[in-house]
Symmetry: C2
Subunit: 196 residues, 2 copies
């Protein structure tokens, strides 16, 4: 239609979540019409992100610093660790501003159907952090799905030996609901009403 | 949340048509999780498109060749020129495979409200092509909007002196409808039933 470069751009854009073939074409067109002011800046932003963003060794967050800016922040409460399924959940909680402690990103939930076992989840950095002795409470902020509940139960058992409070966000997370689509108020309520 | 690189990436993605802030974050996350296999290839595709894609001097199409691959195609019917508002319409007609001639991209429609006057539309390359003497029919494939109708009328008058057939796609384009959201069958019917 306009050479292999355009086809390739549309093809890769169409693979983004939220963009189908039609909106990928519209996005490509918008970018191609302003190559210097829109296309190249986005290309540069992607390259810089690819070259700088790493997974935090301490918590699993994505950041251009390692340890990430949350782990490195002395003003945050290092005695509380909120365990989430993915970085998207961490972002949602940060946007809501409802958790002033640290995070741990599991990288998924246990799922027999999805073939996700304990070995596929990141727990070693969390255990290492707990072994450090500074943490007094672990908040399990997993989705209110069967997998989320299974994972929370499994993790609570694994952490029991540390003798610290293990709480779980409860009220406000709708059944079957993922965390990162909730509004700030719901997230705040869920975190406030957490239970052991 | 994860450093300025991530913020910038999300901000630029959110400006794409079809992506709001929420889907921009989801898209950024998907890309950041696979920097080498997803983020860098997209960055490269964007850079290559920005460096290679130009506006065709002859018709206004976007292509890595100039004249574009349509204008340069000897197997297409160079005696028919289909006038469209934008490159998105050209793409829609090409996907439908209903026009075997050439195109001319106006770059907009006349709009008093939008402040688009005759001087904002690209007509010089079309006039130059018509002066060449090879074109026997100009098909006006503008949207069935007030602006599309006004523009078609204005253009038909400007082209009258060339003494060639000026037709207009009619049947099948719904009132108020833009061309590039129509299905292939509708586009084919509209083009077949064009009228002078
Ligand atoms: Zn961290
Ligand atoms: Zn061309």
């Amino acid at each position: 239609m306009g050479g292999p470069e355009i086809e390739r751009l549309i093809e890769l854009l169409a693979r983004l979540p939220g963009l189908g073939p039609r909106s990928a074409r519209r996005a490509a067109l918008t970018l191609l019409r302003q190559p210097r002011t829109r296309l190249l800046p986005l290309a540069t932003a992607m390259e810089q992100a690819a070259n700088s963003v790493r997974t935090c060794d301490a918590c699993g967050n994505l950041d251009s610093r390692n340890p990430c800016s949350i782990c490195a922040d002395e003003h945050r409460d290092h005695s509380m660790v909120c365990v989430v399924e993915g970085v998207g959940d961490l972002w949602a909680l940060e946007r809501a501003g409802v958790h002033r402690g640290l995070y741990h990103v599991l990288g998924g939930t246990l799922s027999a159907l999805g073939g996700t076992g304990p070995e596929d989840l990141s727990t070693a950095p969390l255990l290492a952090r707990l072994a450090g002795g500074e943490v007094r409470e672990v908040i399990l902020a997993l989705g209110a799905t069967v997998e989320g509940a299974t994972t929370a139960h499994w993790l609570a058992e694994r952490l029991a030996s540390f003798g610290i409070a293990i709480t779980r966000v409860a009220q406000g997370v709708p059944m079957g609901g993922a965390l990162d689509v909730l509004d700030d108020g719901t997230l705040a309520a869920a975190l406030m009403a957490r239970r052991s």
